[in-house]
């Protein structure tokens, strides 16, 4: 008898249906799995035979053939343990008494030797697939329940062990479908990590204002200044003023983390905007994504959040240049021999750099010991095309002692965040039908439509082209920034002072 169980395969961020067929035939006892399984799938037969035995079932002493269809898709991972075990039992007639309709259900899960189910990666993609394709039930390991429950409209059955599931299928026992009040969960998280609150950062008003603009309009920002000026602390503090994620965003981000296997018991869903800060020794595959079975890299893990690259010029040239496409398009395309996969990667790039190799060029107190040539060489490590994709270039000078010892607290992150969220709402209304979300994503067409400049602003832009030798390319960036600054003021038309402030964040040659 041939049995059929439905499961799914995770490719990139998406899932596809996998039909698991088992056939039991006369012959020596042997399990063979066909349909392009990789090592981790092939090893499952040993786990399954132990798990079946330890759960009190018989493994047929015959020849068992298991087919994972469609047979032309490469299959990896451990999520097939459970469906394969079920299909063997079904083929063997051990589930004969079950009235369960297997055609409406998907099964995924890894088995341990005693029959317990273990957590798997990519469960969110499976759940989304199940919902989109009209499956009613999704049987998953108990530890994955909260993650899967982000998706509405399907029954999530958290399974503790194989025996429990079989009893459920034989109507001997009922597994309750998982109910999860995700909204109260969303609100239960304390969003502001107090140690990075703006109020503890002395001085640096200029940089803090820049961060507020960056967070509000999702503008990429580069801090440069001498060592010890607080660039890293400033960059990290951006998490305290980032707007809340919408439900769709939570789903999007959690899905990426689910595939990457980064969701833990403590953090089953990503609710705070991610903040990723890979070290500058990171490889291209780790940062952009890759591997023979492509996995999302840091830039995708930072999707809808912040990618912080400390010591920006120290990253390898290849890594920096490969940021071009994602910074422009908001996704990254990874091509490998087996397949080509797209991962979303729309993040705010926050980068920090020293102005030169000794670090003190432009410092008011310490003299820079670099030659003009060395400074130029150091600056050239960040190529023009990359620098052009960074809207805000902010100098962070060193703070003097009397400013450090000043006891007054500055503005709390909470009030900054409130202003940022207002601007996020403004943008949501503005770009309702435009296919973009943030001011920073505006193309020339949107700029024409949404950025009205009065004569005075045009005048100052014109004189900036001459007086500050502004390049034509920088022109649009300034207008986009001015748009966000005007939004922070709650003003629809961009005024001269908005443009002037935006000019302060231009890239200096």
């Amino acid at each position: 008898m041939i049995s059929k169980i439905y499961s799914c395969v995770v490719i990139g961020l998406n899932s596809r249906l996998v039909e698991i067929e088992s056939d039991i035939d006369f012959g020596f006892q042997k399990i063979s799995i066909v349909g392009l399984p990789d090592v981790s799938v092939n090893e499952s037969k040993d786990r399954i035979s132990s798990a079946l035995k330890n759960s009190g079932f018989d493994l047929p002493r015959n020849k068992i053939t298991i087919n994972l269809a469609p047979a032309n898709i490469h299959k990896a991972g451990t999520l097939y343990d459970l469906p394969i075990a079920l299909s063997i039992l079904l083929a063997n007639g051990q589930l004969k008494k079950s009235s369960f309709d297997f055609s409406k259900s998907l099964f995924v899960g890894e088995l341990s030797l005693n029959g317990d189910l273990r957590k798997i990666n990519g469960i969110l993609s499976c759940a989304i697939f199940a919902k989109e394709n009209g499956y009613e039930n999704l049987f998953i390991p108990e530890d994955n329940a909260k993650e899967a429950a982000l998706v509405d409209g399907i029954n999530i059955y958290p399974v503790f062990n194989l025996k429990q599931l079989i009893d459920h299928l034989l109507n001997k026992l009922n597994i309750e479908s998982f109910e999860f009040d995700k909204y109260s969960y969303f609100n239960s998280i304390d969003f502001i990590d107090d140690s990075f609150n703006f109020k503890y950062i002395k001085g640096q008003n200029h940089a803090k204002r820049a961060l507020e603009i960056a967070a509000a309009g999702a503008h990429n920002i580069l801090f440069y200044g001498p060592p010890g000026s607080g660039k890293t602390m400033l960059a990290r503090s951006i998490v305290t003023i980032l707007p809340k994620m919408s439900e769709e965003e939570i789903l999007e981000v959690s899905r990426i983390h689910s595939v990457a296997g980064l969701l833990t018991e403590k953090q089953p869903i990503i609710i705070k905007r991610p903040f990723r800060s890979p070290h500058h020794s990171g490889s291209c595959a780790s940062i952009v994504g890759g591997g023979s079975n492509p996995k999302p890299g840091e830039i995708s893990l930072a999707h809808r959040g912040v990618l912080f690259l400390d010591e920006f010029p120290e990253f390898s040239k290849i890594v920096l240049e490969s940021l071009r496409q994602p910074l422009e398009d908001g996704f990254v395309t990874i091509s490998r021999a087996v397949r080509t996969i797209e991962f979303p990667a729309r993040f705010i790039l926050v980068a920090s750099a020293n102005p030169c190799s000794c670090g003190f060029f432009g410092d008011s107190e310490k003299k820079c010991s670099c030659s003009q040539l060395q400074i130029l060489k150091y600056k050239n490590k960040i190529s023009g095309p990359i620098a052009d994709r960074i809207d805000m270039h902010v100098e962070v000078p060193r703070i003097k002692f009397d400013e450090l010892s000043d006891n007054n607290l500055s503005e709390d992150s909470v009030s900054v965040k409130n202003r940022v969220e207002v601007v996020v709402d403004i943008q949501k209304n503005r770009f309702k039908n435009s296919g973009i979300v943030n001011n920073s994503e505006m193309k020339s067409k949107h700029i024409k439509e949404f950025c009205k400049l009065d004569d005075q602003s045009l005048e100052i832009l014109k004189s900036a082209v001459v007086g500050l030798s502004l390049s034509g390319r920088a022109y649009n960036k300034i207008i986009k920034l001015a748009r966000t600054i005007a939004d922070l003021d709650g003003i629809e038309d961009i005024k001269m002072n908005h443009v002037a402030e935006a000019l302060q964040y231009r890239r200096r040659e």
């Binding site: 200029h206 432009g362 060395q374």
Partner: protein, 382 residues
């Protein structure tokens, strides 16, 4: 252009003095060109020079050569022509032919050599910028070597004000060296300035060529101003050439700890004129002659000058009438000594966004400058 003069100028080791002697000896350069090896030997040329002459003679085609230069847009003129810069004729060893791109017919009465190290500190950059600005505002043409560092800055300042400047190359003019200054050189030509070289096309940038180039920089200048120099640097050879040509060397002092200023401090110790203000150069090189100063040496003129001008006031009050109140308050906080934006925030009651936009407006209007690191200072108005 005499084709025989062009020919002899291409022979190594033949300078203007030899040319004059040749004319004396043979009656004309044409005769010299057609003369036999024995005659040349009799004139006193060494065997290697004679060999060089006869080798080059075989392939010499003046019309072809002219065409080549024309294609590259390179002009040239000889020592004997009127278009040859008069100031250059006065040096001990002027080039026979000078090649140039651009316009060399500017009035070169008021020129100043601005030279300095390729590797320079921000102090050097700042001095070169401020002084060049003064020179240009006072109709003094900066002459420099087109290298990166101080040289490029002096050219850039001139270009930013659409003012001519002269750049002297150590290579043939068909070669762009340093290559990244290609645009700068074009800008110089476009601004009615000139790129000049004594070397024919195809001449590579040999180290000795760059040293000879420094002789022309000094030669085209009424005085040489040195911003920063290492103790063993090309800039120091420019100073030596200037002294040979009986021209003044002006130097700004630098820190005794700075390796960038070792050369300039050494020059001061050895008699170069130590200055702290660009006007001092102008007053000493082009003195407005009075009875008291006429005919006096530079040293005496300097003493008289300092006597009469105890206080050098170059800072005129800035016109603030166009500023609104906030702008004026911020402007008042900024002096000629730099101030950091954080201190501006602390000292004024305005919000950071307001301050930011005011600073940009003041910067665009050209009354303040951001020195880097968000340090602002007023711009000196001369």
């Amino acid at each position: 252009m005499n084709k025989y003069l062009f020919f002899f100028s291409s022979i190594n080791k033949i300078g203007i003095k030899t040319i004059l002697k040749l004319i004396d000896f043979f009656g004309s350069l044409e005769n010299a060109f057609d003369s036999s090896m024995a005659d040349l030997k009799e004139f006193g040329f060494s065997n290697s020079i004679i060999e060089d002459i006869f080798n080059k003679k075989k392939n010499f085609n003046f019309d072809n050569e002219c065409l080549k230069y024309k294609k590259l847009n390179i002009d040239f003129c000889s020592y004997f022509e009127d278009s040859y810069p008069a100031i250059l004729k006065k040096i001990p060893d002027p080039p026979i032919i000078i090649f140039y791109k651009g316009n060399l017919s500017n009035n070169l009465d008021k020129t100043i050599g601005v030279v300095g190290a390729r590797n320079c500190s921000d102090y050097g950059v700042s001095v070169a910028r401020d002084f060049c600005e003064y020179f240009i505002n006072n109709d003094i043409i900066p002459v420099s070597g087109g290298a990166i560092g101080i040289d490029s800055i002096s050219h850039e300042v001139a270009i930013s004000k659409n003012y001519p400047t002269i750049s002297v190359m150590g290579t043939g003019l068909d070669i762009v060296y340093p290559a990244r200054n290609k645009k700068l050189f074009q800008d110089i030509i476009d601004n009615n300035g000139a790129i000049v070289s004594e070397f024919p096309i195809g001449a590579n940038g040999l180290p000795q060529n760059f040293i000879m180039r420094n002789r022309i920089i000094a030669g085209l200048s009424a005085g040489v101003f040195i911003v920063e120099a290492g103790i063993k640097s090309g800039t120091m050879t420019t100073a030596e050439f200037a002294i040979d040509q009986n021209k003044n060397v002006f130097v700004v002092p630098g820190s005794i700890y700075s390796s960038f200023s070792e050369g300039t401090n050494y020059l001061i110790k050895n008699g170069a004129i130590f200055i702290t203000n660009p006007r001092e150069i102008e007053d000493m090189v082009w003195p407005t002659f009075t009875k008291a100063t006429a005919g006096e040496s530079v040293g005496v003129r300097r003493a008289l000058y300092l006597q009469n001008n105890n206080e050098i006031k170059i800072k005129k009050p800035v016109d603030v009438s166009w500023m609104n109140e906030d702008e004026k308050n911020i402007f008042d906080l900024i002096s000629y000594k730099s101030i950091n934006i954080e201190n501006i925030v602390l000292k004024s009651n305005l919000s950071i966004q307001k301050i930011n936009s005011i600073l940009i407006i003041l910067e665009i209007k050209g009354v303040i400058i951001n020195l880097g690191g968000m340090n602002y200072k007023r711009i000196e108005k001369n």
